[in-house]
Symmetry: C2
Subunit: 384 residues, 2 copies
């Protein structure tokens, strides 16, 4: 026993000086009692030490049952909550995952791409199920996003989400990985991925769309979507498209491909470009549903009937797809499963369990927009 030792600090019924051990120097008299309730208060109330409070509250087995109950009761009475900042500072985990969302290059600012909204929903849900919070942050591709989040320690891991080639910022990703930052990304699963990636099988998806259109008897199938390497997902879909064509012995015609990013405006524009070229075509494979919907609008404006004159298929199966007229044939990405996988993978990574990139299967959803041949012209307009 060395003197009066450091008393339990507690600010419940306490006065003036905060910390007796240094009371000699000069304690700020801090009168305004609006202090935060801390574990010391709980400790006092429960008649134990702060350390025991901490242990009790986080379920340390070395605390006896009775003590735990008392502590919990005291905490409940005082409406005490652990300060996550302090907790995170001391421990090293935050119980939070970060979602970095990369904008489409065309931020039309009004609506977020519905597909990502859907992913957002499922990721949020998956996080909730695991007891994690989700920190969301929009990012412009140009910015120094890696710096902001890397070590700011606000999250235990990062999920990268977005269309486009954000994954090609390899140097940044490398830096992150070098520092041990845990991250997984959504996107095209490519051979030389700089980080673990979960994505849908865009290649197979693309192939099955084109196969379906070919089955309908279409022969000149246009592809609307940016096929450059800046949009790996689109590129994969395009590759699938080409392979399906070649399998049938059809030689792809470059004149039937028009670049477009994922929005209705772009889809409309692309379709108009296509029409302006004067190349005959009997089907459109749009790299995303939004493009498809925009394209249908353009065709419709020009009095071209879908699907009777031109069959159309999209990609993503956004909720809208089944409600447009005609209902849109498309490829469904299982966003629910995808979100879960992203979160699961990230959590495993955080716990140092082995994980690897994975490709999810896709499902072709055939609806009226692609039923080109001799199809029932009977039912004029009904929901699917």
């Amino acid at each position: 026993m060395k003197g009066p030792a450091r008393q339990q600090r507690a600010n419940l019924a306490s006065i003036g000086v905060r910390d007796p051990i240094i009371a000699g120097s000069q304690g700020h008299p801090r009168v305004h009692s609006k202090k935060r309730i801390t574990s010391f208060d709980i400790a006092e109330k429960a008649g134990v030490s702060q350390a025991t409070v901490s242990r009790a509250l986080r379920g340390d087995p070395s605390v006896s049952e009775g003590t735990r109950k008392r502590v919990e009761a005291a905490a409940a009475t005082l409406n005490y909550t652990v300060d996550k900042n302090a907790s995170n500072l001391r421990g090293r985990l935050t119980g939070t995952l970060a979602l970095l969302f990369f904008e489409d290059p065309t931020p039309d600012d009004s609506h977020i791409n519905p597909f990502f909204l859907s992913m957002l929903g499922s990721i949020t849900r998956a996080c909730a199920r695991h007891g994690y919070d989700l920190l969301i942050s929009f990012q412009e591709l140009a910015r120094d996003w890696h710096a902001d989040f890397a070590e700011s320690k606000k999250a235990d891991g990062i999920i990268l989400l977005g269309y486009g080639d954000y994954l090609t910022h390899t140097s940044r990703l490398e830096k992150l990985r070098a520092r041990g930052t845990k991250l997984v990304s959504w996107g095209a699963v490519m051979p030389d991925q700089p980080c673990v990636t979960i994505g849908c099988d865009n290649f197979s998806g693309g192939r099955s769309v084109t196969e379906h259109l070919l089955d309908q008897g279409c022969r000149r199938i246009a592809f609307l979507g940016d096929a450059s390497r800046h949009f790996p997902e689109f590129q994969e879909r395009y590759r699938g498209h080409l392979q399906a064509l070649r399998t049938q012995g059809i030689v792809p015609d470059d004149a039937l491909q028009v670049d477009a990013e994922s929005s209705q405006q772009e889809g409309r524009r692309a379709a108009e470009t296509l029409l302006a070229r004067g190349e005959p075509f009997d089907a459109i494979f749009a790299a995303s549903d939004l493009i498809a919907i925009g394209a249908i609008g353009a065709l419709s404006t020009q009095g071209i009937s879908v699907p009777f004159e031109v069959a159309v298929a999209g990609f993503d199966d956004i909720p809208m797809a089944s409600f447009v007229n005609p209902p849109l044939t498309t490829v469904q990405q299982d966003t629910r499963r995808a979100g879960e996988m992203l979160v699961d993978s990230l959590l495993r990574l955080i716990h140092n369990e082995p994980i690897e990139s994975k490709m999810l299967p896709m499902k072709l959803m055939v609806r009226r927009s692609s039923l080109w041949q001799d199809v029932a012209r009977l039912e004029p307009t009904r929901e699917d």
Copy 2:
């Protein structure tokens, strides 16, 4: 001066013992140099004290220009980022807002209500614009949500979002407010609100829908939506509906109101219930677009034509509304503006500026689903 004083700590070129002042006892030799880079390291590198680093990095004007530059350079070189946990612990702000999202009572688990998804998007954007991060958390109404977030100090303020009567958990809200928690909510703006609320003018919106239907010549207008006090928004819409009727001297018929929560399933069920009652009706005012869409499905199944036999209007103007067939007449809530206002208000609250509840105007969007009377049966099916 008491002895060698506590040296600048720095772990860059340092060896073994971490903290010289307690070196006497026994310092863990911590060999693995995977230590975090701290402001002390920057301080050493820049030849200043840790305090100066902190000041320089957060733009304290008392730091000279030269010093600041040197510090910034050092920080950049070492890839240093401020540890938000420590920073938040010391300062009292987190630079983060929390969004508590209350599930619809019917969590169909696959898709989030599109209206809220839209709000989510605009809130996220607004936060980003203000340089705040957004922490998202789903909540079940039953749970002790107030405890979890109140003082966990992960966020500077809270936005409450959800349909339903979560705002009536007055005791919880009171507790929060008593503790000085900053919060704003989205919802029906009612007289005795327990906290600042931003909401749309549901009453006027409801009234204008019914006025429009009356203008079309409809006289027996059914209302599909829960009109109980558990859904204040719906209730307000219903009140607006009733007022419009009474203004025209029409006596509301209780048989024309069917409870429904906001989902397609519920809409379908409600419409079936209505039909089963055998009461004649010539229009449906659905309390939300999802309900409306479900109802149209039910009518369509029974071979009842919309809008020729029954006019239908919804509420919310979710993206889908303009794409269903027929395009749905509805009331637009300006989610973009709403999200901005929520964030703005919360930030003001945090900065102790005065704010008050506010109601946003709504806009009636007339589309084909409600054009009941002598309308052009010409155009069979075209996008809006």
